[in-house]
Symmetry: C3
Subunit: 147 residues, 3 copies
Amino acid sequence: MAGVFDNPVFPYFAFYAIVVVLKTISMAFLTVFHRLTKRIYINPEDTRIAGGQGKVATNETIERIRRCHQNDIENVIPFVLIGLLYTASGPSLGSALLHFRIFTGARIFHTIAYLFALPQPSRALSFFVGLLSIMSMAYNVLPATKY
Amino acid sequence: MAGVFDNPVFPYFAFYAIVVVLKTISMAFLTVFHRLTKRIYINPEDTRIAGGQGKVATNETIERIRRCHQNDIENVIPFVLIGLLYTASGPSLGSALLHFRIFTGARIFHTIAYLFALPQPSRALSFFVGLLSIMSMAYNVLPATKY
Amino acid sequence: MAGVFDNPVFPYFAFYAIVVVLKTISMAFLTVFHRLTKRIYINPEDTRIAGGQGKVATNETIERIRRCHQNDIENVIPFVLIGLLYTASGPSLGSALLHFRIFTGARIFHTIAYLFALPQPSRALSFFVGLLSIMSMAYNVLPATKY
């Protein structure tokens, strides 16, 4: 595994994988920020945080962040898993960078489109572009696989 | 990492990992298909898609796909993560194929059982068979680990 | 990939990754246990399990386990993905063990704090300690990456 970073594509994969995973995790911080400032929590024991007076309720802003977070889980994690197999299969650096950058750009735009409720089909398009990148990587790995 | 595909089990692992991850992603396409044809959306800004007249609501078919998708996330991703460690630990090809094929078959059957609401315990059994495959792989990796 | 376990940090990473992934999966078993004993299910076709008389409903205990499971998905999987890149980047064993053990300990405590509804900020602290470990690993990998 000392040789993993010798794969010329791996250092690039590592960078974009870290960016999109940290972006996913940032949704958790955003949720916590809104729960604390709005004093709207998800568990009864949380309501005493930050001086009390909190309540268990649903809030449209927090629900929107939750949906964005869930969409990240459903897309970013498949990207990292398939991307790892794709990187291991020895793609050309140019082709790999195209996949990684399109996916990362699409998911950052998707987050902006989701959180600011931009008019559709902005979010739908970025969602499909991300999926397309994952499926294209999967398609490129398949010839190297056995079943 | 050039040598990753030299591991005789890895090309098989890559194939089954891609199949189950793509199967998971296909739930997103199914959700979009039903949202568009039923004109039932999850965000207010989505209702103008496809000629408008959509509304934000919950629909039992879409909720069922959502539950199936979530169950995939909770099972397929652990399979790929543990499967990667298992493959790296150098299992025999026969044993590895048994784990990969049983898991993949169980999850495909699980999806059919979920989406068509087949009588229980069909879905429960396929769920446990999948978990059993993951736990068996984890059990086989443990002797090679340190703590 | 035969050499993956030659990386001195990898056998340790494999151990802690397996522990936290199995901990995540154990939430599924806990959910099934409570659904069966409380006869409260998530799908109409499930209500005939275990002698019938079940019903589709929500239950606070089961919802709490579900939230804990979801929080695991949102934290444990990023840990394994970033941890794999971190391990591949060749960290010192001491530093790596610190990250793996702090994360694993924090998430086990988080589960206890969640399931037993311990007074806050116990759960919040263990949540942030886990995230901090992931972000510290990501920060340590970045110098080895390219973009």
